[in-house]
């Protein structure tokens, strides 16, 4: 259960993930709507986004080939627009709380108005690095660039 509390009464608009893992206890600290989407069979498109297009590579060289590379430029030097998005971009919202518990790959971040969002649970290191990034955004008071995939999890994070 997250220790961080907030007095902000926020309507959570996020769709839930298909996970049955424990979720942040919205009732204690953060308001949540009762009509949050329930787990549902994933479509082919959702599965594709969850699994990704990259082919898994064994061994030490795997890291460079498994995920998409960043395309966004620093805000102060940007000469191009926002990065290519596979889902729904969420911008301008700070991370006001984080949550994790003992279940594997079950880390969440609370965005100022979008509410609790589960970080991608695609891989161990993916979940961990996104947790580090979300915590970094929380610590620095930075509004990250978030790309929410159709399954309702955060699939991409940029923090400047």
């Amino acid at each position: 259960m997250p220790s961080k509390t907030t007095t902000k009464s926020t309507r959570v608009t996020a769709r839930s993930t298909a996970s049955t893992d424990p979720r942040p206890d919205h009732g204690v600290s953060l308001a949540v709507t009762a009509d949050a989407p329930q787990p549902h069979p994933l479509s082919d498109e959702e599965l594709r986004l969850l699994v990704g297009d990259a082919t898994q590579v064994d061994g030490a060289s795997a890291a460079a080939a498994t995920g998409p590379a960043p395309t966004m430029e620093p805000p102060q030097a940007a000469t191009s627009g926002p990065p290519a998005s596979a889902g729904t971009p969420i911008t301008g919202q700070k991370v006001v709380a984080t949550y994790a518990e003992q279940t594997n790959r079950n880390a969440w971040a609370y965005l100022a108005t979008a509410g609790w969002k589960k970080l991608s649970d695609l891989t161990d290191t993916g979940s961990t690095t996104m947790t580090l990034l979300a915590a970094h955004a929380r610590a620095t008071g930075t509004a990250p660039y978030v790309d929410e995939n159709p399954a309702g999890t955060i699939g991409t994070l940029y923090v400047w």
Partner: protein, 371 residues
Amino acid sequence: MAGKDRVDVSAVQRELETQNHPWEAAENHLTRLSSIERARRLGVPLPDEEHRALLEQRAVRLRARLLEAPAAEGAALPAAFDLRNVGGQSYVSGIRDQAQCGSCVAFGSVAVMEGTARYQRRMPTLDSDFSEAHLFYGWGSTVGVTCDTGWMPMPALTFATNDGICFEAEWAYTAGNTNGGSAPASWQQHRAKATGAVDLTNKVDDIKAHLTTVGPVTGCFVVYTDFFSYKSGVYQQTTGKQEGGHCVAIVGYDDAQQAWIIKNSWGTGWGMGGYGLIRYGECYIDTWANVAVTGVNLRSWTAAKKVIGGYSTGHDRNGWVYVQDVGWLHVGGATGTAHVAMFADLLTAKEKDAYVNAYSDDGTIKTVYAY
């Protein structure tokens, strides 16, 4: 030093006057050289008669096509583009001087690599001063290249692709390698390597497209005496005899002036601070040997830099950091634990506004210090 057969700049200026001043000529450190010394400022073997005839055919066709309406496939290209000013940023490395050695191909080729390394990363301040000496005296010598023989850009950039070159700091250039330089035993730990060489010869629209999306392109052309006295304007051959072949880097173009923007290797005293404009189709600049690289990988320490941004997806070991003056670097790691450890160190440095010194190999961080 005054050559007995130095360039008669006054004669060039008189000839230009009769042609309504298509460009300006002036005295400079090259016009005072003898013809033998001028020849050493070049470095591309002239084509034989048969090849020359082919080049002439291409040039005639190119000039005829340029008189027609713009091709449909070229419609998407901007009317002008200059790698020295893309959104107010220059991606072109500094002007060099090959001095008394026919090593222009090394300078044109390395300028292509340096500009590509910067532009592909959109990083104008990237440390990308690569060694012309390694390319010319190191790799070139293995195939018989000397200051007197000259070279061609495709074999030069093929060496750069297959083997790579060290940085200027490890092997500094001098004409004739009089400093006795050589690549240090550990040069592979600090090197640039092209990801591929591509031949764009006689493909004007492809050259333009490459410039706007990837980086500079080499341009080889026949040099006539008047070219040494070029000061400004759009060069077209006016007077003088054929002096040899030369290679430069094309760094932009301007359709309104029907000209390529070239970066020469004769120091800043020639042309417009070392740069010039040469008319499309002139002296085979775009029909003889236009070679580029598809990208440049680097092995290098960042030195003391700040971490500006972080990025991650849910994929395995896919954390990245944006490092000052370097751009995006993928965080490596032979294991997930190593990846997360380096990523945490880098993000902590970002949070504390601390410096990092990271060693990256072809865009992937292998080692990092944060302090």
